[in-house]
Amino acid sequence: MPHGWMFAVSTLLTLGWVSIADAKPVGPTIFCEEYPAAPVCQGGAPACTFCHTAPPDRNPYGQTIEASLLPGTTRPLSTTQYRSNLPAALRAAERIDADGDGFNSGDEIAAGTKPHDGLSFPSTSGCPPFRRNPDYDVCFYDRAYAFRKVNLDFCGRSPTFEDLELFRALGETEQETALHARLDECLKSENWRGKEGVLWSLAHRKIKPLKAIRSGSYPGDPAGEIPLANYYDDYALFVYTQIDNNDARHALTGDYFVVRQGGTSGEPTRYVKQTNIGFSQSVLQNRRAGLITTKWYLVLNVMFTDLPRTAAAQAYRAFLGMDIAKLEGLRPVDDEPVDYDGKGVQAPFCSQCHSTLDPLTYPFAKYHGLTNFPFGSYDANRQRNVPEAGVVLGQPVRDLVEWAQVAANSDEFAKATLMDYWKLVMGEAPRPEELTEFTALWRRFKNENSHGVERMLHDLVRSEAYGVP
């Protein structure tokens, strides 16, 4: 690629003036102070959409709160008025069936369902059954069902009839062993870890590839027409962090790269860790933070932007499971936003998101996207007027490396990692009645499992959510 092609190929997803009138970021915090045991408060506060549709508009549950919140008092309420009176309004609202589904909001909050959504309501379990289903053990863990599912979820294909028959013929203990042995086998398969495999696909949303600007040519797979950075490095690093019980946090904290080898002519795909990777990456080791400082990530998300809010918002969304554009994960920082780039983000409607987003972004401002060939490098002098220190999840950090460590060690990271796999195998987010099991699983992932994804997957397969048809 000619050096002169330093054009702004940009998906500058800069989050700018998100208009939020009258939504109070303190609301979710107060809610969780009132309902600390509520499933929706486990591992984070609910999003603003728990009460709002698109702020300032409220959903049915939000409307019942609004009706009880200092009725007759002139709007907008001051923050003090709001903070002082919201708890009583919440208590008043919990007696009302806001969404008309037959359950009052208090019951729904306790059950983890959505009090504003008529299609979300507490489960009415029919177990134990009036008699045993001979084919699917609908109230108990069904190993044959789980065996078939493990094959499909992880190996990408059904077992054969004969395989399934052999499994059924085993005793209970042997079935348990065989089930997990098959899982291990699948986790080694090309379907799981190869190019375009399951893990690879899981990374799409985090990496957001675009063929037209991919660098790196391979047999039968030429570079894009305008090659800028090679996202295959990112896929390799991501997959590496998810296999062999490697520390999944390295997706955010890894100071190394990974090379993909094999994968053709029946040879299994291998991933080899390397400190450096030729010219395809630019950030020096002491400034690396896994997937959020690769050349691809910086080229795509920083580009030419002075204050790359997109880079921070995407990291928050992809690795911590919170989308600021959807009013999730707001943790306002006092005296923010400063508005270093003069975008007017101090306007009241804007500051409610930007008081979280801007300090989240500052550490990214020291990384070049497309502004300094060979692109995607660290530069302490970039954006001198912007501090390198920032705040993530309410915790001050001195730079992006520390940002990544705080993020990777958080509950939010553990929860988001499990959520990726949960949705992959269940086809949906946890149901209200599954939230207890979900919470136990991400806590184990973080603690007993030492952030090893494969250990977590064994736990997941053992769960009732997985194995009870």
Binding site: T11, T14, L15, D57, L210, E225, A325
Partner: protein, 500 residues
């Protein structure tokens, strides 16, 4: 599941009713039930919405609201254009920009772009309504341009139109765009027929509209239908799998899709009406019992790059979907992928990242992309004008159609002093172009401040400019639905009658 007394509780009853209504009982009754309640709209004469998704930020001051240099007090620093590059029909507030260049940013390919031909031809159908959006995040802003910032329970415009007019159409809502432009709305009360059908490859998608046509050496269609009936009515329902999981939402959806929807799609032999590929040696349709649509030649003539340019293929399919009354609303849009006709020796069909290439080369990107979009719109208008919709009234399809050029946001209004080419960031302030005989055209709702490049607002009922105000997305949303005759009662939308 029964409770101890063997009675269904309220929830279970609701669930079983839901399954049956969705076709779970596999019979004709359920098929009819699913259409019941939709009949109320069957007599309403349809109107059609074509959304052209202008991904990346189509700046209205680079097209219909372009600012001639001579009119600005800050011509060198605000994004103005040379007077001689701007065309405006006499007495019209609308403008068009014709430009050319020797390169597009760092892409060393000469380009030429024309908007004036489109404006000349369609000026009386063009309405521009200014707007200041609420997000400069691509995905979020894309979605909000279609939902009016979620103003009607998160429904998209296309879903509203499909729900209003699409009950009897085989595929009421087809979406060929990507990213936020192809997202489904949030409203779960939306009739399921109004949910969009995604289309990735316009040229070959019609092959998926019949279970057997175009496959050689099969048993007769009658036998295939008989096999389906046996499967659906006797084999599947008696399996332990089905009986155990029959409460599944996904199975209920499937039952409806493979009965009601499939019958509806196959009944019209849509493959034969929608294929616009040429019967050729490389794609020998006739060898498979297929023939191109009777309109294929006309469509190919209008969109000659259909084979190499996916956007033109989308436009071709869009016309055929409307003309054959398959669809009430169709969404098309160029991708973010770079498309050159012949490497660096050819022509730039699509710059990388479409309008968003403005970060590097604002003028070239905007010029090339606007020209590209308007050419597609023009082709569609020509084709739709030539198709009679109602013999009794003499209406053409175009008389009942609207093209909405949706985009995320505008671009920065400033530039380096007198710079001919420059990069721009995202800017909330912008405006939307709506082209339709159903709107009062040759008008601008609001206007643009020539000295700042910023657009300003308008009165929602009179359309009079209101320089001190800006209009949010919901006004565009409401105005479009009003012009399309969609019943919005109960939606709590702002009253926007100024479009018509």
């Amino acid at each position: 599941m029964m409770n101890k007394l063997g009675r269904l509780n309220r929830r279970q009853l609701m669930k079983s009713v839901g399954v049956a209504a969705a076709g779970g009982s596999l019979g004709l009754g359920s098929m009819l039930a699913s259409r019941r309640g939709l009949a109320q709209n069957q007599e309403k004469k349809p109107r059609f919405l074509i959304v052209i998704a202008a991904g990346g930020g189509a700046s209205i001051i680079d097209s219909f609201l372009a600012i001639p240099r001579s009119l600005s007090a800050n011509p060198g620093t605000i994004h103005t254009l040379p007077d001689d590059a701007i065309f405006s029909p006499e007495g019209s507030p609308l403008r068009a920009v014709d430009q050319s260049g020797s390169e597009a940013g760092a892409i060393p390919i000469a380009w030429s772009a024309n908007q004036s031909n489109f404006l000349r031809k369609n000026v009386n159908d063009i309405l521009v309504a200014t707007c200041t959006g609420t997000s400069v995040n691509h995905n979020v802003a894309q979605r909000r341009s279609l939902t009016g910032n979620e103003i009607w329970k998160g429904r998209t415009l296309q879903e509203c139109v499909a729900a209003e007019y699409g009950a009897t159409f085989p595929v009421p809502n087809v979406n060929m765009a990507g990213q936020g432009y192809s997202e489904r709305g949030y409203d779960r009360d939306l009739p399921d027929f109004a949910v969009h059908e995604p289309v990735a490859g316009a040229s070959v998608w019609p092959l998926g509209l019949d279970g057997a046509l175009g496959i050689n050496d099969l048993p007769s269609k009658e036998l295939i239908v008989a096999a389906r009936e046996l499967r659906n009515q006797r084999l599947d329902p008696n399996t332990a799998f089905y009986r155990t999981f029959k409460g599944s939402k996904n199975l209920a959806i499937w039952e409806k899709q493979r009965t009601v929807n499939q019958s509806s799609l196959e009944a019209g032999e849509l493959i034969k009406k929608l294929i616009f590929l040429e019967d050729s040696q490389s794609i020998p349709l006739s060898e498979y019992g297929l023939t191109p649509s009777p309109d294929a030649a006309a469509v190919r003539e209008k969109f000659p790059r259909y084979a190499s340019d996916p956007f033109q293929a989308q436009a071709a399919l869009a016309f055929l979907l409307l003309k054959n009354r398959v669809t009430t609303t169709v969404t098309i849009g160029p991708s973010f992928d770079v498309l050159l006709s012949n490497g660096l020796q050819g022509e730039i069909y699509n710059p990388p990242l479409a309008f968003d290439y403005s970060h590097n080369a604002h003028r070239a990107s905007q010029a090339i992309m606007w020209s590209r979009l308007l050419a597609a719109a023009d082709g569609l208008i020509d084709l739709l004008k030539a198709q009679e919709f109602d013999a009794s009234t003499g209406e053409s399809f175009w008389d009942r159609s609207m093209i909405y050029i949706a985009t995320e946001f505008g671009r920065d209004k400033t530039r380096g002093n007198n710079a001919n080419e420059f990069g721009t960031g995202h800017h909330l302030n912008n405006g939307f172009a709506i082209i339709s005989p159903m709107v009062r055209g040759n008008r601008v709702l609001g206007g643009v401040n020539y000295n700042t490049g910023l657009t300003y607002g308008w009165n929602p009922t009179t359309g009079e400019p209101v320089p001190e105000e800006e209009m949010a997305e919901r006004y565009i949303f409401s105005g479009i639905l009003h012009a399309l005759g969609v019943d919005t009662s109960g939606a709590d939308l702002p009253n926007v009658t100024a479009f018509v």
